[in-house]
């Protein structure tokens, strides 16, 4: 068990190193932050001095080595755009992104699963067809368009909900939450629906097809033959077996939700890490971009690690196989 965990952790570290390297390599194409920082009037000497201050005059491998060395100690340097510690910036932004992502994941789950069950059970009704067609739109419409449409209807036309921002927040230690204020909750509605929509349709379609599959299996037929009520068959037997792959997917999708919150955060001016990243890209703010990409890589690596460990715990066959090949 320990050897397995150790191996996975080592692999994760390797993945992180590769991500950091690729991310850092890409920065050579984002342009020159010094041009932004000094503006058009700066002299060549001023530019060179700032480049030296920032370490940008060093060759690529030196910059990279320095970055990795500092990053290991949790030091990502100063944001070039804001002149503040990158670690502080990320810490400030983390609660907004996590709240949005988790709420979106919950919406996706608690709306997606029932809809999936419904469309599987009543698959020939017109409502099921309507839902399936609508889900196609959810899958194929780009997130920013959905966001803008929601803003147009609920903020501009009806005036019910705010079009941007996070509303009032309450600080709990270093964590800020919008879940405890009315304006915070109102502000959360549109972005979380926007972010949830894709995952929701995905879950709905997944549950539906799994459910249809399960409903065809023998044990469901036997259950019917035993005279069990529909309700017991559908929810007690069919849905339970459907949920195994669904939970796996949701676990993996949570990482995707956090990472792809970028678009939603930009549309709604949601002050999370995605927005921070987008603004960093525009400004060629290398320290922020590097830290963000490493963070996202870390999230994915951690989730994968946990999923692997869960498999290991859940599936006895894995343990036996590993034990057999280990020697």
């Amino acid at each position: 068990m320990l050897a397995f965990i150790l191996r996975r952790v080592l692999q994760s570290v390797a993945v992180m190193a590769v991500v950091a390297f690729i991310a850092f390599g890409l920065f050579n194409f984002t342009g020159d932050p010094v041009a932004f920082m000094l503006g058009q009037d700066a002299t060549i000497q001023e530019r060179q001095r700032l480049r030296a201050d920032l370490g940008l005059d060093q060759p690529f491998y030196v910059q990279f080595a320095r970055f990795v060395g500092n990053a290991v100690r949790g030091d990502f340097g100063l944001s070039l755009r804001q002149g503040r510690l990158v670690s502080t910036l990320l810490k400030e932004r983390l609660p907004a992104t996590l709240e949005l992502s988790i709420v979106a994941a919950l919406i996706a789950l608690f709306v997606g699963v029932p809809l999936g069950v419904y469309t599987a059970l009543k698959r020939d009704t017109w409502t099921a067809h309507l839902l399936l067609t609508a889900s196609l739109i959810g899958v194929s419409l780009p997130t920013f368009l959905i966001g803008i449409l929601l803003i147009l209807v609920f903020a501009v036309q009806l005036g019910w909900l705010p079009s941007f921002g996070r509303g009032d927040t309450v600080a709990l230690g270093w964590w800020t939450t919008g879940l405890l204020t009315k304006s915070g909750l109102k502000a959360l509605i549109l972005p979380s629906i926007t972010l949830a929509l894709f995952q929701m349709t995905l879950i709905m379609r997944l549950v539906r097809s799994e459910m249809l599959e399960v409903l065809r299996t023998d044990y469901i037929k036997f259950a019917r033959a035993r005279g069990l009520r529909d309700r017991a068959i559908h929810f007690g037997h069919a849905l339970k077996n459907t949920l195994v792959p669904v939970i796996t997917i949701i676990g993996l999708q949570l990482g995707a939700i956090i990472a792809f919150a970028i678009v939603t955060e930009t549309v709604f001016q949601w002050p999370g890490m995605g927005l921070l990243f987008i603004q960093a890209v525009n400004f060629a703010d290398i320290p922020v971009m590097a830290a963000y990409l490493c963070f996202i890589a870390l999230v994915f690596v951690l989730i994968n690690l946990i999923v692997d460990l869960l498999y290991y715990a859940v599936d006895p066959r894995l343990r036996i196989e590993r034990a057999a090949t280990a020697h």
Binding site: L78, G83, P162, L275
Partner: protein, 527 residues
């Protein structure tokens, strides 16, 4: 005991008086694409940043509505010698923390502006020394006669020495130290507004300074700034009434916003001129098909490219009217502009073809046009349109469009044959532009620092060097006119147009449009 009652009664009376005279809160909630980078008035020379520095900090002088310098923290000034200016400071000015403004703060502020890590050095260009004479008199000594000193001083903001020293902010942001600067998120100015709260990228709140030394026509008591990055969301927030003012509404939405009943648009031109520059220094230019010579060294070729541009088509269909075509490198608001130097050469395809034939390029040539795609209004589209127009006369330009972060890195190394650039005259005085764009390149100086095709004319150079120190306005303006004429005759650059930048707001808000795209709080009125 009786004393205490009396004090309480007096306090209550005073309080009632304050409440009775208190004006109703007038809050302006406004938005644009990006956030303020820092509140340190010497850390970033960027338009939005300077806008907020104007709210919180004052300079010795400031602009009036006609962009002429007028007294601010200095009540008057004299020039005892050509390179010595004496400023008399306003008495009874207090910083937001209650400490009085004295000459020493002015001396300190100029030290800070001229510090190596300052980005506002350009506004104190030519300042050699600032001396305290007494508590309310300072002398600014320049390294020669300096006719644009006052205009620079508008953006040289005055900070408190005691406050900066106490908070370890004696010098502006220094990236080498990897430390956050206290002054970046805390302020102590003398200005009309005080910073109340700041959450980067979320909300910045300023409240009116009750002890400000001046009165205004405006009635603003609070400013709430929220950056909204997405164009559609920013407009939606304006339409739905969540913000009152948008500095940068997207051009395609302007016609629709004009029609909306509860909104209005303030149109105004910017001092920025959009133009093309051409490599005029290499013997063979790197990105053209012509070998062994540089076609742009030939004036006929430059003129052909000029006259092949159908500027009216660009203005009408591409800019949708949001541009004023010009033949000048200076905007009309800028000191030094004259009408006679800004006539455009007419659009004439046949003439352009003939000129190219005369220059020895009957079949034209290939060249790469470098162009930014996220810096100016419709920058890439302008380049696309002009590429098509040049094609008609035989010059086949290949468009190389890129984001400004990479674009400026490339062209500032002079690594270009043909490029598009926009240039705003920050000081509202022509020298700023002539020196940067027309003066021959002199390393490690502002001379020609954006003359990226290295246009060079010795006569123009000599005149520009004289303009730098000429204090007689009439002579100086005549010289600027002459430089503009020389440049226009040489066809040193191909000017296109001046951008019109519309501001959008709710109809109960009235503002004064500024050609440097700064929303001036002094003149905002909310009904």
């Amino acid at each position: 005991m009786r004393n205490r009652v009396l004090t309480a009664a007096l306090a209550a009376a005073a309080f009632t008086a304050i409440v009775a005279t208190a004006v109703p809160a007038k809050t302006l909630r406004w938005s644009s694409q990006g956030d303020i980078l820092t509140f340190d008035p010497m850390a970033q020379n960027e338009s939005l940043n300077n806008t907020f520095s104007d709210y919180v900090y004052d300079g010795l002088v400031r602009y009036n509505k006609k962009f002429e310098p007028e007294p601010a923290l200095a009540t008057s000034w004299t020039q005892p010698e050509p390179s010595r200016w004496r400023f008399i400071l306003r008495k009874n000015v207090k910083f937001h923390d209650g400490t009085p403004l004295v000459a020493d703060d002015v001396v300190f502020s100029f030290e800070r502006i001229l510090a190596p890590s300052s980005n506002m050095k350009v506004y104190a260009q030519g300042v050699k020394e600032v001396k305290k004479i007494d508590d309310f008199t300072v002398d600014i000594i320049t390294d020669g006669p300096n006719p644009v000193l006052l205009r620079g001083l508008v953006d040289a903001k005055i900070m408190s020495r005691a406050w900066a020293t106490k908070n370890n902010s004696v010098s502006p942001q220094n990236y080498a130290q990897k430390e956050e600067n206290f002054a970046a998120r805390n302020t102590n100015g003398t200005g009309q507004f005080m910073l109340k709260s700041r959450e980067a990228d979320v909300r910045t709140v300023l409240v009116a300074n009750p002890n400000w030394w001046d009165k205004t026509d405006g009635n603003l008591t609070e400013i709430v700034y929220t950056p909204i990055k997405a164009d559609a969301t920013r407009v939606a927030a304006l339409v739905s009434g969540e913000v009152d003012f948008v500095l940068d509404p997207p051009p395609q939405d302007i016609p629709r916003l004009r029609q909306a009943g509860n909104l209005k648009i303030a149109d105004g031109t910017e001092t920025r001129i959009i133009f093309f520059g051409m490599d005029q220094w290499r013997d063979e230019t790197p990105y053209a098909s012509v070998k062994g010579k540089n076609p742009f060294k030939d004036k006929n070729v430059r003129q052909a490219l000029y006259q092949a541009i159908d500027i009216d088509a660009i203005q009408r269909s591409l800019m949708r009217g949001l541009a004023v075509p010009t033949g000048s490198m200076l905007a009309p608001q800028v000191n030094g502009y004259t009408d006679d130097t800004s006539k455009r050469m007419p659009y004439d395809v046949e003439k352009a073809k003939a000129l190219l034939r005369d220059a020895g390029y009957p079949n034209g040539f290939d060249v790469t046009l470098d162009c930014p795609n996220n810096r100016y209004i419709n920058d890439e589209k302008i380049c696309q349109a002009v590429v098509a127009m040049w094609e008609k006369v035989g010059v086949r330009a290949k468009l190389n469009a890129m984001p400004c972060a990479t674009y400026f890195q490339k062209i500032q190394k002079f690594d270009t044959s043909l490029y598009l650039l926009g240039w705003a005259t920050a000081t509202f005085d022509g020298l700023y532009t002539l020196q940067s764009l027309i003066r021959s390149v002199r390393d490690n100086s502002a001379d020609g620092n954006f003359n990226l095709g290295k246009y060079s004319n010795t006569k123009a150079d000599a005149l520009i060097d004289q303009i730098k120190t000429e204090v007689d306005d009439k002579k100086r303006n005549a010289m600027m006119r002459e430089v503009m004429q020389i440049h226009a005759t040489d066809i040193g650059h191909l000017p296109l147009h001046q951008q019109i930048i519309p501001w959008a707001m709710r109809s109960n808000v009235s503002v004064t449009h500024r050609a440097d795209n700064r929303l001036d709080a002094r003149w905002i009125k909310i009904e």
